[in-house]
Amino acid sequence: MTSHRTTRAALIDLGKPLRFTFDGTAYQGFEGDTLASALLANGVRVMGRSFKYHRPRGPLGAWVDDPNAIMGVTLNGRSLPNCPATTTPLEDGMQARAVNAWPSARFDIKGGLDLFHRWLGAGFYYKTFMWPDWHLFEPMIRKMAGLGDISRNVLEDYCADQVHDHCETLVIGGGAAGLAAARAAAEGGQNVVLVDDKPVLGGGVHQLAGVEDFAPRDWVASEAHAIEAAGGRILTATTAFGIFDHRMVGLVQNGPFGTAPRLHRMRAARIILATGALDRPVTFASNDLPGVMTIDAACEYLARYAVLVGKRIGVLSNNSLADDKLAMLAEAGAEVVRLNPADGAICALGRKQVRCVAQGRNSHKVDTLLVSGGMTPLVHLWRHAGGKLDWCTERQAFLPGAAPEGMVAIGAAGGTFDLDAALAEARAAGSGVPADAIPSRYKLTPLWPEPGSKGRQWIDFQHDVTLKDVELAARENYVSVEHLKRYTTLGMASDQGKTSNMAGLAAMAAVQGRPLPEVGTTTFRPPFVPVPIELYHGHHEKQLWHPLKRLALEQEHREIGAALGEYGGWLRPGWYGTGDAKAHIRQEILTARNAAGLFDASPLGKIEVIGPDAEAFVDFIYYNTISTLKPGHIRYGFMLTEGGIVMDDGVIARLDRNRFVISCSSSHVGSVRTHLEAWRQDGNDPDRIFVHDLTDHWATLTVAGPKAREVLTDLALDMDLSPTAFPHMTMRETRFAHSPLRVARVSFTGDLSYEMSIRRSKAAELWQALVAAGERIGAAPIGVEALSILRAEKGYIMIGKDTDGETMPHDLGFGVPRQKKKVAFIGDRSLHSVKANGARRKMLVGLTVSVGDKALPTGAHLVEGTPLQSVGYVTSSYDSPTLGHPIALALVENGTERLGESISVWHMGETRMATISAPCAFDPEGARLNA
């Protein structure tokens, strides 16, 4: 047991012991531990295996920077893959297992892969596995790759809460600088939020002997209290994972293990970045041995978790910050052996953990080797927000340069590593009162990878990228920093290069003899730490994902056994009755043809166009001429896109001189409304045209069938229903149950049909009256499925089903306005393009099959020639209960010129024959329509 728990006061609760296992062995830790600290406290050094070579690895860092200790963790039946042991708070009963290792991290059967490392260097796979075929090798490689295994079970109640929030000043990072800045800002009267990603505030403060005459913990507590007392808010265990446009900061707030975190979408007028800096590892031979760790990590383990990482500790540091820290380790009982980088390169020795460190001819027996190559400010969020970076030669680091609007970096994140200077800077930033800068006392000697040196020197620990890999990339001219990254996979591991990127850049700079800043940096991309996908999901699930619209009469439909389904964004009755759906639909069709069908058509659009210019406007909007329509009359028409494509069809009624009502298809109400609004304001006088979408105010119930008039007669409405007084394509307004009732004689079935609209709250009353009246003559409710067949029998189209993105009105048999309409209308010029005038347009036709043949499959193609060429396709096809034979609609090249021709119908390799006919198969003379 080299690493062990000490008696030093720390941030763990010794009164709350927690039991857990790692790779099957039971251990004990305490409340406040992370998995990594608890394992170290138990003397466990090997906590994982690397991605490629399965090298044994222990924690290199103590927090988000660690690339090595990755575990699958199970608690209370919930398993999560790839949990970093250094950031996973320990909970009682946790079962952890190293990923990518079997049976354990300590003894991994794939450990032998390391023996072949000389052939598995950077990009080796680009140079081989080509013969005979990549597919031969890929399955094996896929199995070898990957880290954790996911359970394929869905976690119940794993649902992220998502909130929006805003503040004047957001301080990111709850270390010394962040606390001081937040306090100053809050006490200055600002609305402040401070976030810190650890469960306990203070950042690196806990490593210090004291802060401004306080013990660290007392100082942290007093700052936190002051922030809250001044109205500030503090969120711990909350990581700012990304800064997006317009200073929207994504915050992930973590709860207990296995629960989904909460997403805060935090809009901040001002952002103070106090994210601190990482201690850089040093590149030397066998620097990946368990027991090699950064100095800062070792001090964090001691300060926060009372874990001393070793007994006899070798230390290599190139900078002035190490001294204070070493004192702390010594005080805790460690024997410290200092190595001077100036004395030459070092080399770690050992098998599964470091046993010895050699430097030149000297060697020291150690159980732990701590290194510090200087501090790397955490500038990820700065870069997300578009801030620039400047290379600082003195600090050998990229520091925040030109600032994004409303953002400032302070403390170690800004390259200020001395406490007094950081506090002064923080208070100035928080309060807005400038302070004199205190000169930096931080000193360091550059200590970067040395190309050509011996041994395996690790740069990206998780991905097993070594200095030699960087040298190889340079040799092969993958010298751009992005090429280096992608070719070697450096920085692409789950830690996203927090420790490796700088070493990689420095290595490439050294190999090429270029100054480091010239090599540049790769792009910093969100998220700063991996976040669960659920974070973005939240409650927008199931029924709330594109929620359906609901009918006023849903309950009534349910009560009479409606089978509800999604049709055009609404939940509507598909048919009525349980059991054999097809039989019900067939019966509904026969009812509608022999008596009458009662249909809830409420989703049909009811968009009113009102105003003195309404008439001219609808003429412009419609393909057809509408201005000639008299009040009380209705016309069928198309709306086109400017490209001339049919966008929607439906009827438009004129209510009076200045008022029209557009009945667009159910699923197009939103897009038609937007279309009308856009054109109303662009090129028309918006003071003289108004568009009121009243679709939701009105429920629409249709009675369609030869006995429809009898049903209406039964309602005793105050109106003359005779065909002469109330002919097809007219509208009358009356009252029902003391409410206005609009009755339109329009038909989507080809039979006599009345479409009645009444305010939503009266719909049930009207429905019940219709059902009661209908019962007397054999009428019954019908659903959308029956209607789809009824309309197809008549040859009526459904936009998007019987038309496609190329269909123009003359393809549907409506060619007249294209030739004759005098005023401008949307899409007009496109109807005369070369293609619009072309010879091979797909046109709407019907298809008939030989007696006794089955219905054609919808989606079948119509084919000609050798090799077979598609000239169209079947868009709608049904067995027609009315006609007793199959019917179909199709789009076929030059279809209307080919009526009566026989054509091959091709479906999944099989060919049948059909005859091209007119689309209308039911009552082509229209006698029933006009009855």
Binding site: L11, I12, E31, H164, V200, T236, R550, D687
Partner: protein
């Protein structure tokens, strides 16, 4: 063919209130809602005009929706159509919107789950998206009584979202770490 009747919850009784975590969701019955559009509807000051985060007075009041449109709440009966003298387009929209109040100390927190809302950002219009659904949102009577008009066909979905947000307040109360909690873990 699928019968999805059981997959979709039958419309919850939208007329029944719901209280949880100190927040009440209450259906509101209005007598009339009238859409009035015209070039000068906002300046023809027949009624008090309500914007965000305005607090509506006793009805009638007019919700400002657009540069040229209001929704008159509990106003007088008017004939639908174009009114030449006032240059207004008028439509009875009484059943176009279902109306709910969300009230309580934490009502605003509930609404913030559905939109990036600020009480200090005034808006001339009460129309916005809440949980991705178009609503009219403003206050009535007091600082923490919020009124929502939502297209009737979407009322079911909005109520479902609101109820989820109200229950989410419970976990939010626990999750928001305070420094005392954070430091109480120290020994």
């Amino acid at each position: 063919m699928r019968n999805d009747s059981n997959k979709w919850d039958a419309p919850a009784a939208l007329t029944v209130g719901h209280t949880e975590n100190g927040v009440a969701l209450t259906p509101i019955e209005l007598t009339r809602q009238t859409l009035i559009s015209g070039p000068r509807v906002l300046s023809q000051a027949d009624w008090s005009i309500v914007g965000w985060p305005g607090i509506a007075p006793t009805p009638p009041y007019a919700l400002s929706l657009r540069r040229d449109r209001v929704l008159l709440v509990d106003g007088p009966d008017m004939a639908d159509g174009w009114q030449e003298d006032t240059q207004r387009a008028i439509s009875d929209a009484s059943d176009a919107y279902s109306v709910f109040d969300v009230s309580g100390d934490r009502a605003f927190e509930v609404l913030q789950r559905g939109a990036e809302l600020r009480l200090d950002a005034e808006s001339k219009s009460v129309a916005r998206l809440l949980f991705g659904i178009g609503v009219l949102l403003y206050r009535v009577n007091t600082e923490d009584q919020f009124r929502i008009h939502v297209a009737s066909s979407h009322a079911e979905a909005l109520v479902k979202s609101l109820k989820l947000a109200i229950s989410a307040l419970r976990s939010a109360g626990q999750g928001n770490s305070r420094p005392e909690d954070a430091l109480s873990k120290t020994s």
